[in-house]
């Protein structure tokens, strides 16, 4: 645990703007038994700066989730390297917390409060139970779940489950927050509500946190990302890297429309490259 704390302390010393995540020529191939390996991610090189909200945008099946999963340390690279603050990524760690698309990422046998407290007590084992619960309550309030905190996950809606997962991730205060289309399985109305609220939550609860957000939704990308990396499909490559001046502007804001249209065109092109 001490090493995790040390690592966290070193992240603090990095000033905003310096690269936190350095990806060099990262390739990931899947080998299905009996078949030749298929390349999901092909020589991606990118620097992700400390404190920025970085969006990876691409059509489904372009390898964006695979890349994120590798940054999380859940799967190995076939070649190339991913370094966090100069250190190669090893196994998954609480410095890099993943928020999944799957609603089933909450422990069903713990309440909302129990899930968030569980995360805190994993990360800060020396923290007293009452202190951990107080911290959990703050994070639950931040995501607007106060009233649901004694409920079990099976009584929550999809949106509420994702809010709870966010609260648990914020509470752990990771250096890097990895979000794998967390709103992808929500209905349209809830998705837009969560997109609009996520910026507020990040500002209030995780201002210094570096976030990598994977999505196939152009408006989501424009709303959330300081920078947007567009990936092409088959195999996944970096097609464009765009600075986004419209980050944080309301969804579907007219100023952001040209950029959204441009991104949409880029995505269409990447669709066409598939043979």
């Amino acid at each position: 645990m001490a090493t995790a704390a040390n690592r966290a302390a070193r992240f603090e010393q990095l000033s905003p703007g310096e690269p936190l995540v350095t990806i060099r020529d990262a390739s990931i191939a899947y080998s299905t038994r009996g078949r030749a390996a298929t390349l999901a991610v092909d020589s991606v090189s990118i620097d992700i700066r400390k404190g920025e909200k970085f969006v990876i945008l691409g059509p489904s099946g372009c390898g964006k989730s695979t890349l994120l999963t590798a940054i999380g340390g859940f799967i190995p690279l076939t070649s190339g390297s991913i370094k966090i603050d100069g250190e190669p990524v090893g196994s998954p760690s609480m410095d890099r917390i993943m928020v999944f698309q799957d609603f089933g990422q909450l422990l069903p046998w713990r309440t909302v409060l129990g899930n968030v407290t569980w995360g805190i007590r994993r990360r800060f084992p020396k923290m007293s139970r009452s202190e951990a619960q107080a911290r959990a309550r703050e994070c639950i309030a931040l995501v607007g779940l106060d009233r649901q905190s004694p409920q079990y996950p099976n009584t929550l809606s999809g949106g509420q489950k994702q809010r709870c997962a966010l609260a648990r991730a914020f509470a752990v205060a990771p250096a890097l927050l990895l979000m794998d289309e967390p709103f992808g399985a929500l209905d349209a109305i809830n998705r837009e509500r969560m997109q609009a609220e996520l910026n507020r939550m990040l500002m209030e609860g995780a201002r210094d946190m570096t976030v990598i957000f994977v999505t196939h939704d152009v408006n989501e990308a424009v709303h959330l990302g300081d920078r947007i990396m567009v990936m092409s499909r088959g195999p996944g490559r970096v097609r464009a890297l765009i600075d986004n001046p419209h980050v944080g502007s309301p969804l579907f804001h007219t100023d952001a429309m040209p950029l959204a249209a441009e991104l949409r065109e880029l995505l269409k092109d990447t669709e066409n490259t598939v043979s």
């Binding site: 998954p92 890099r96 993943m98 799957d102 990422q105 069903p108 994993r122 996950p153 009584t155």
Partner: protein
């Protein structure tokens, strides 16, 4: 008629709750009336009230209380067999999770032994172990082990990959991943398997005891039922049967209570 119905004003919920007790009471009453009214020979089929009297006496209400001894003999063997079965099932499932060959072996063995009523193995067990407690334990283990092992395997195989990743993300060790994620995830299937296993074992041991008692010479509720016929204490035999039913229902409701406390509350019930 309408006024009368309104006047009674019994809420549908109460009727719903009373339906089962009313049916049970009705069946008991019918049993009593048919036996008494048609003057059935009590040596063939005693009246309900006689059976209840014998049951009460057997349990110590104005009688010897000898039934407790028989129940304990049966449960003692059953609990030993249960402990052995659960331990073996966990061991075999553990092997099967880690190794494809072990998984195939377990799957084939389960496939072979699940359809076999293990009481059919009793003659062989007697050949190997004699008229002994070991023979009883053997057939009961053979009846419990396979359903428990197969539901454990299914339980572990269906744990959500997302939860496993969550565990990895929060740096759980292998052992704590098992105890904090895998076991609670597999709990619905585990409880179902334990329930089915217990039910199989309960049927098997009563059947086996009809052939001989737990310690060769005597003991066991099935032994008691068979002896009651032998000595023409037919009402005692019926009391024994009633007791087997009551214990079966009681353990069933224990498992249901366990489910209510855990998987039902969490909404992870599969059935």
């Amino acid at each position: 008629m309408k006024a009368l119905a309104e006047g009674h004003n019994v809420s549908p919920e109460i009727i719903e709750k009373l339906r089962k007790p009313i049916v049970v009471a009705g069946l008991c009453l019918a049993w009593e009336l048919v036996v008494r009214g048609m003057q059935v020979n009590p040596l063939l089929f005693p009246a309900f009230s006689d059976v209840v009297m014998h049951l009460a006496a057997g349990l110590g209400l104005g009688g010897s209380g000898e039934l407790w001894g028989y129940i304990w003999d049966t449960l003692r063997v059953l609990l030993q067999a249960y402990a052995i079965s659960v331990a073996l099932a966990i061991f075999m499932t553990g092997l099967a999770v880690g190794n494809r060959w072990a998984r195939e072996v377990l799957s084939v063995m389960t496939g072979i032994f699940q359809p076999l009523p293990s009481i059919a193995l009793l003659p062989m067990a007697i050949l190997w172990f004699g008229f002994s407690q070991e023979s009883l334990i053997f057939v009961v283990v053979m009846s419990m082990l396979w359903p428990i092992a197969s539901s454990l395997t299914v339980g572990f195989a269906t744990v959500s990959p997302t939860l496993v990743r969550l565990g990895q993300n929060y740096e759980l060790s292998r052992i704590s991943l098992v105890t904090t994620v895998l076991v609670p995830s597999a709990l619905p299937m585990m409880i179902a398997g334990l329930k089915v296993g217990w039910g199989f074992g309960w049927r098997t041991i009563v059947a086996a005891e009809l052939v001989f008692g737990a310690t060769g010479g005597g003991g066991g509720i099935g032994w008691f039922i068979n002896n009651s016929r032998l000595f023409m204490n037919v009402a005692d035999g019926f009391a024994g049967i009633m007791l087997v039913i009551i214990i079966g229902l009681a353990t069933e409701s224990l498992f249901i209570a366990l489910q209510r406390l855990t998987t039902q509350r969490w909404g992870t019930e599969t059935a």
